[in-house]
């Protein structure tokens, strides 16, 4: 199979589909446009639907409970308090909400730990990059703010470069895309070296570029084969840096999460206080508005509390590992490659959103 693919000079019919799929992945479209998705893809889609349905029902129940509380409290004006899910270190499934002071709570459930994502045990990376090690809390703390931003930017650039390689329609497109991929891998190496505490790594970046070029122009003949080899070279070289950057992202997001939870809980305390002050003197409208504000704070706290930065970072690493293997073992079957690249792009998008959300909340300060 592999030999046939190497000698073929005709354009592979799957590449147009591949390009479209990857474009769709960047926009984070969850459903696959491909009629020939394999069974694992179908299972994944069905699980997603089930999860969405369960999640929607939970949201409806929570909204109904909120409305009932608001109606009841407007008449009874009880003294309100933090619910058991509003502790910064709470790890259970109880959501952060307001409760009547002294009421029996679901605190017992708050001790149920949220399942952590299992870390990938096997190291599939074949290319060792000088200067790229394992980041630690100290090496990441030493990063300047712009260098922290570069971690996510380099991953985004790398993903976009892989997409460009798959989209290339002719030699000129491919030349540009190959240049972008080479530079993007250099950027990844640079960020990973900084996150590992090795400082700037210009040599590693230059090596990555030269190596990709050699693979590309000496061996490659047909565009399809070159495309695959370009993806292979880029993903193999990016393997170790992506592992390092996933660790760095886990630390960065966890630190941001802790800081934000602290601020949001403080907000919630003052908003609950406002409700309690108004219960004896405020009119129905101002009292209701104060409850709404406190519940909005509880929601903001809950939204951050349920995030699991480590799981997201591990998922990114695993998605890239699968992409590396899909490209490494590719024998002309592009579906597995499409799924892997789509999944990886999805996690890069989620990490970008997670980083942006936390940054926006931090910039908004204490405003509810």
């Amino acid at each position: 199979m592999k030999a046939t693919h190497r000698t073929s000079t005709s354009p592979h019919p799957c590449h147009t589909r591949l390009a479209a799929a990857v474009l769709a992945s960047v926009a984070l479209v969850s459903c696959s446009p491909y009629p020939h998705s394999d069974s694992s893809q179908m299972l994944s889609t069905e699980m997603d639907s089930l999860g969405t349905s369960y999640s929607a029902a939970n949201k409806r129940i929570a909204a109904e409970q909120r409305l009932n509380h608001r109606l009841e409290w407007s008449f009874t004006r009880p003294e309100l308090d933090f619910g058991p899910g509003c502790e910064v270190n709470a790890a259970g499934s109880v959501v952060c909400d307001l409760i009547q002071k002294g009421s029996v709570s679901l605190a017992a459930d708050a001790s149920t730990p949220i399942a952590a994502a299992a870390k990938s045990a096997e190291d599939i990376c074949r290319v060792q990059i000088p200067g790229v090690g394992t980041p630690t809390r100290n090496t990441i703390k030493a990063l300047k703010p712009l260098q922290r931003d570069d971690v996510i930017v380099s991953l985004k650039t790398y993903t976009a470069a892989l997409v460009a390689v798959t989209r290339a329609q002719d030699r000129a497109d491919f030349d540009t895309a190959a240049g972008k991929a080479s530079a993007a891998v250099g950027g990844l190496v640079q960020s990973a070296a900084l996150a590992s505490g090795a400082g700037a790594a210009p040599l590693a970046g230059a090596l990555a570029e030269a190596s990709v070029d050699v693979v590309l122009w000496v061996i490659g003949q047909a565009l399809d084969y070159q495309r695959l080899e370009e993806l292979r070279a880029a993903t193999e070289r990016a393997c170790e840096p992506v592992h390092a950057l996933a660790i760095a992202l886990g630390f960065i997001l966890e630190e941001q999460r802790g800081n934000e939870l602290q601020e949001l809980r403080k907000q919630l305390a003052w908003n609950i206080r406002t409700v309690n002050q108004l219960r004896g003197q405020g009119n129905a409208q101002s009292y209701g508005a104060a409850i709404d504000a406190a519940e909005a704070s509880a929601d903001a706290f809950q939204n951050i509390r349920v995030t699991d930065p480590d799981a997201l970072a591990n998922a990114l690493r695993d998605a890239h590992d699968k992409l590396v293997l899909a490209v490494r073992n590719n024998t002309g079957e592009s579906d597995a490659l499409i799924v892997s690249l789509t999944t990886f792009a999805k996690y890069v998008g989620q990490l970008e959103i997670a980083t942006a959300n936390v940054s926006a909340s931090a910039a908004a300060g204490k405003k509810p």
Partner: protein
């Protein structure tokens, strides 16, 4: 009579890490308690202002502890030599934190927590200074 076995370096490092994490958890209990008091107290004026100030001080102390007790710092020989003192402070801060949920005088009890948190940070900073 044989001497007690000397703890290995990795055991000391592990104990130090635990002391740091337990101290941070105790500070968080104090922060939660103060914020609970802010949310539910009927009192206003100077008392409320002191609660708000105490909340800020505890949050800042927790951040200072996190910044001071990094893995690299805990691995310094001078910091390891202070392990006994650090463990002792950590145990005291945990005892105070256990009293916090039922404590009637929140300001006094959290003052003790804050003070012990400061002691923990000072011990680390001073040990670190000796190494440089």
């Amino acid at each position: 009579m044989a001497n007690a076995p000397t703890p290995k370096l990795d055991e000391i490092a592990s104990d130090l890490r635990k002391s740091r994490d337990d101290s941070l958890a105790a500070l968080q209990v104090a922060i939660d308690r103060v914020e609970h008091e802010i949310a539910t107290t009927d009192q206003v004026g100077p008392f409320l202002k002191r609660l708000a100030d105490r909340d800020d001080a505890l949050v800042n102390e927790a951040a200072a502890l996190r910044a001071a007790a990094t893995e690299a710092v805990l691995a310094l020989p001078e910091v390891m030599q202070a392990a006994t003192a650090l463990t002792s402070v950590s145990q005291r801060i945990q005892k105070v934190a256990q009293r916090l949920p039922a404590a009637k005088d929140v300001l006094a009890t959290t003052a003790a927590t804050l003070s012990l948190g400061q002691q923990f940070v000072d011990l680390i900073v001073n040990a670190q200074k000796k190494s440089s």
